[in-house]
Every structure is written in C-alpha cells, then in structure tokens.
Symmetry: C2
Subunit: 346 residues, 2 copies
DNA sequence: CTGAAAGCGCTTACAG
DNA sequence: CTGAAAGCGCTTACAG
C-alpha cells in the first residue's frame, strides 16, 4: 500500500499560513471572508490539489453524503437507466449513490429497509416503481426523518417527494394510432392489480377507447403480471377466442414481446395479422423483428429530477426541492409491429 | 429531521460500565478479552442495538469501506448481474458498493478514474470487461496501491487480481453441437480486434473447427464490433455470398440477434434455413422466437468471487485473496435457433 | 473578518 | 486482561 497520503485541511492551513477554520470557510463557500484571504487559501488548495475528506465532514455533520436507489424490479435496463439518471447529479454535488435492490414481497421488507438506511447512514433514497407505490414505506421514511423521492405513475399531493410520468398522454397516442390504422378490436393486456401504473394505464386505455368511439369487448381485457410468460398466456387466450382482436396494447414491453412470440408460434404474422404495442421501450424493443412500437418513459430524466429534489432536501432546502419539476411526459415510439398503412392517408 | 440519534460506542461503554476501548475490542473480535467482559458488553450492545459507525471507523483507519465496480459496457443486464454478484458479499463484510460507469475511450479515462478513486477514498475496484483488459490501468492501480480484481477471458499470472471465464470449453461445445447437427459451413461473426474475449473466442473457434475436421472458409469469418447493428451487417454479407453458411456463431448475443433479424428480413427461416448461436445469455435470448442458443458466462458467480478476492485484499490478506478460485466455467445453453434434429440420432 | 477550543465516533499506541 | 490519552479530518459554537 504505497498510496500517498492525501493532504488534509491542516496541510492547506499550514501552507497558506492561516487557521484551518479559515480553510473550512473557503471550501464551504461561507460568506464573510476577505477576498485577499480567499485568494491566498485557494492557491494553497490548488497547489497541493486538496479535496475535502467527505468521511470526516460527514462525521462532524452526522451525514454520510450517500444516497440510495431502492427498488424491487427485475428489469435491468430500467434500473440501469434510473441509475444513470441519478449518478451524474449526485456526484456533482459530492454525493455517492448506492444501489439497493430488495425483495419487497418479504414481510420484513420495510423493517429491513429502515435498518439498512439506519446502518449505512443513508441521507436519502429514491424509490423506483413498484415499491414507490407503497404509502406505508413513504410514511415510515417520513417518520424516521429520511429524505426520499418517489417515482410514481399518478400525481400525489406531495410535490417535494415525487416525480411522476404522465402515461395518459401516451396511452391516448397509442389508441389514436391504432384507430387511425383501422383497428376497431383493440385488446389490452393489463398489468397486476396491485400496480398503480397498471391500473393507471388500464383506466387511460378505457378513456382513450371511448374518446375514439370504440367499444372494448369484455374478453379483450386480460390480466397479466408484467412478465414475459404472462404475455404469452394472455395473447394465446385472446387469439384463440371466437372474436380475436386485431391489435393488442400490452401494459409493458415484456408482455408485448410475450404476445408477439405467442402469435408467431401460432403462425400469425406481425403486424399484418396482429398489431402489438408495448410500454417501456426496453432495449429489446428495437432489437427484434418486427421492432416493437412502444412508449419511452424517460426514466433517466425522471431520476435526474429525483436526484435534484432529493439532494435539495438533504441540504435542508425544501422549497428548492418542491420547485424541481415533477412531471415527465413519456414519448410514443412508432416501430414495425403497428406498421400498417394508415386508412386515412394524408 | 426527527431521526433519533443512534447510540455510539460511548453509550455502550457507559451502559456496560467499561471503557470504550473494551467495547472496541469486542466489536472487532480482538483476542485477550475475558469471557465475562465479552458477555457484559455484548448484552449492552444488544440492549441499545448498537452498530458501529463505519464513517468514524473509516476515519481512524483511513479506509472508506467502499468498493467500486468500474466499467464501460453498454450491456445493462451484464452490469446488473455483475452488481448482484458482488453486492451480497460486500454488504456481509461491511462494505458498500459504488457503481462507476466511465467512458474508457476518453484520453483522460485512466486519470479520471484515479482521481475518482482518490477522492472517494475507494478501498478497491472490480474491473469489468472490456476495461479489465487494460494492462495500463492495472499497473496504474497497483502503483497507486489501490486493490483491484479484473474479470478476464484469459488467465493471467496474477491469481490474486483476476477471475477469468474459460470460454474454450463453451466454444468447443458450440462447434460440436453444430457439427453433430450436420453443419459443415459454419461462419463466425467475431468481436472487435481490441477485445480479448473476441480474440479468445475466435482462436477457440478455429481450434474447435479443426478438432471437428471442418474447414473454415475465409469469407466465413466476419468482423463485427459487438453491436446489434454489426450483427445485421455481418449476417447480410455472409448470407448474400455465393456459398452462404448454414450456421453462424456470433461472439455475443447482440450480434447473434442482429444476424437473426437480418435473416428474417431476407425471408430465411431460423433454424431450418440458418442456425445461429450467440454468447452471453442475455435476457433477450430466451424472450425471442425462436429462442437463442447461447452461452451463460455466470457473471454473477464471477463477481461474487471477485468481491471475495477484493475484500480479502482490502483486509491485507493477500494469500486469502489468491486462494479464492479464479476460474469460472461458462454453461452452454441449447435453445431453438439450433434446434434441428441431430444427424446422428442416439 | 479570523482563530482557538471542543467534539463527531471510532482507532492505535502505550501504560498498568 | 483493561483503560486513559491522543489523533483521524472535518465541523460548530464561541471569542475577539
């Protein structure tokens, strides 16, 4: 271990011929420092390329400068995108980011999380879907005084603690897009009943169909659980019925891809025999043939905003936290699985 | 912020009626403590559910209890698997894990990394492919006294600092599998020239073909760059030739999937018109139709071993680090893209 | 505007 | 086997 010892605040103070308190003032941008002093200290800092030890800072301030993304979600690309969104902003503010996957179905999940937060001295957490839906977790965090931001699919009252994606807009675009291509029998593979996003997208689907004056056949709404497998099963039952749909809107890409695989196995051509739309824009979606029409949630932008909100909170600046925008509009992405010429050519 | 203050070593000492040094001895499992003392202190620890503050420990020991996974790899599922492998072991040893993506093509990449490691006081790093290939990075780390473990595709001399996957075994299985199904014209889409894994797989492919007494036509080895796009392009050129192959072995799944999309667009049926094999076992591979025959690298197991090696190093136990196994054998996974009945039925 | 003192929660010497 | 002192690199609260 030859790691050369990094300079401390004392080294800088000695070099500049001032007290360490003065150095502390400069590195924290405190007011009431003479310009002359500032320059002198700054040049000493530069000379020995000093950077404050955040461990020591944390110890005095009883903060850790650690924030965490907490989630229970098998979707690797979603999680990575979320991470990338938060990472840069966190680093720029001197915070490090800790990923914390967990099993939220465990009965001790919330207690375990609170223990983790206590032991690691985490300053704040970003909650990804679906655990961000949990009102209980949110209130436990609030009660423990732990800063947090939730990623939600419906607006909640607490603007300082949430970012939400407005799926309604995207679902409307999907239905309009399909209707425009002549589809009247549009089925929906919805996500699980305990998922806010699934419920939200389902509700918006019904509204959008009504807006297009289209009737939703009762057997055309099928319950999935966001897995590939459930997409296969749901599509098989839809396509085997007496009045199969001509288009399927699945509540996520996994199920949409399952639906496509099911159709292909049955010899149904996509998109001529069946149009399919997903939701997520997973990497998969653009790497299959035909490529999947879907919706990009802009997860990266969401967690970037979430990190801004969170760190504002950590700094005790709650009004700044509330001022960070909290709505992100998803983007509809048209690809080949719905690529039939519009019936109303322009 | 109502966060109740956590008990410190002083609280425990007071409660147990001993000095804090004694408490320190117990929590660090030091020898030379009377059994009676140990019990008394332990019950005080339990009573106030004390856990040591690793920030303070780190400050005295000039350690951070932070390790990092450093990588430049767009493959989200690879990175997540790597993370999951390391995470549990790190936590169990009181270390937190920081993900550090970087752009290794930048001319300042190595300097930036060294700065990151210095500033964050990272105790050690796990290097994922392909940046783990860099001998320069390895020597810079060694010189700076930073612990590290590299994930490699070929064995290197330094057993304490590497984990490697033995691709040769898997490539042999692939070629034998294809040969057994009657394929004689087997093409290879190799990865980029600066990638050790690509070079390794290419070399092993040639050896395996020879072992099967199969000739590799020169135009049947095509250079890709591990991207989906290059898989499409490579396959298009292979399939448009006068003597197209009946099977393609691509050096990763991304390119294999590109090859399949290219074939499907040209109206070639998989696997009857063309067999395809990938390498990686990405989530994608099992979610397409037909599903992709590929190789699972057991990334999770590799980073779990890597974490063991790394933390042994961090604790100054270099012989323990060298004792952790450093070879992982990939698993061949047969799916539908090669699903033609064997010509030699048993 | 600047600084000397005390403390954050742990550790490593060093006594006894 | 146990403990009192000093220190890790920062901070806050208080003087001047």
């Amino acid at each position: 271990m030859l790691r050369t010892k990094r300079p401390s605040i004392n080294d800088v103070a000695r070099l500049a011929g001032v007290s360490k308190k003065t150095v502390s003032r400069i590195i924290n941008n405190e007011p009431n420092v003479s310009e002359k002093m500032r320059r002198k200290v700054q040049s000493a800092i530069d000379e020995c390329s000093y950077t404050p030890n955040s461990q020591a800072r944390g110890l005095s301030l009883s903060r850790s400068f650690l924030v965490s993304i907490v989630y229970d979600n098998p979707n690797a690309s979603y999680v990575m995108e979320a991470m990338y969104g938060a990472l840069d902003y966190c680093r720029s503010q001197g915070y490090e980011l800790i990923m914390h996957p967990c099993d939220f179905s465990s009965p001790t999940a919330i207690d375990d999380l609170m223990t983790f937060i206590g032991q690691s001295k985490i300053d704040g957490v970003i909650l990804l879907q679906p655990i961000s839906d949990s009102a209980e977790l949110a209130s436990r965090l609030k009660e423990a005084g732990c800063n947090f931001v939730r990623l939600l699919s419906t607006r909640c009252e607490d603007e300082a603690n949430m970012i939400y994606h407005n799926d309604g807009i995207a679902v409307n675009q999907i239905v309009a897009h399909l209707a425009e291509r002549g589809h009247r029998q549009i089925a929906h593979i919805r996500g699980p009943l305990n998922s806010q996003s699934a419920n939200q997208r389902h509700a918006e689907f019904l509204l959008a169909m009504e807006k297009q004056s289209l009737v939703v056949a009762e057997h055309h709404v099928v319950l999935g659980d966001y897995t590939f497998r459930s997409g296969i099963d749901s599509a098989e039952s839809l396509l085997a019925s007496n009045s199969p749909p001509s288009a399927i809107f699945a509540s996520n890409d996994e199920m949409a891809i399952g639906a496509i695989v099911a159709a292909q196995r049955m010899g149904i051509k996509i998109p001529t025999g069946l149009a399919v739309v997903g939701f997520d824009d997973s990497p998969h979606a653009s790497r299959m043939w035909p490529a999947l029409t879907t919706v990009n949630l802009r997860v990266k932008e969401m967690t970037q905003l979430a990190a801004q909100k969170l760190i504002a909170q950590c700094k005790g600046n709650n009004s700044a936290a509330a001022d960070v925008p909290c709505e992100v509009k998803p983007i509809f992405i048209q690809r080949q699985t719905t690529d039939i010429p519009s019936t109303t050519p322009k």
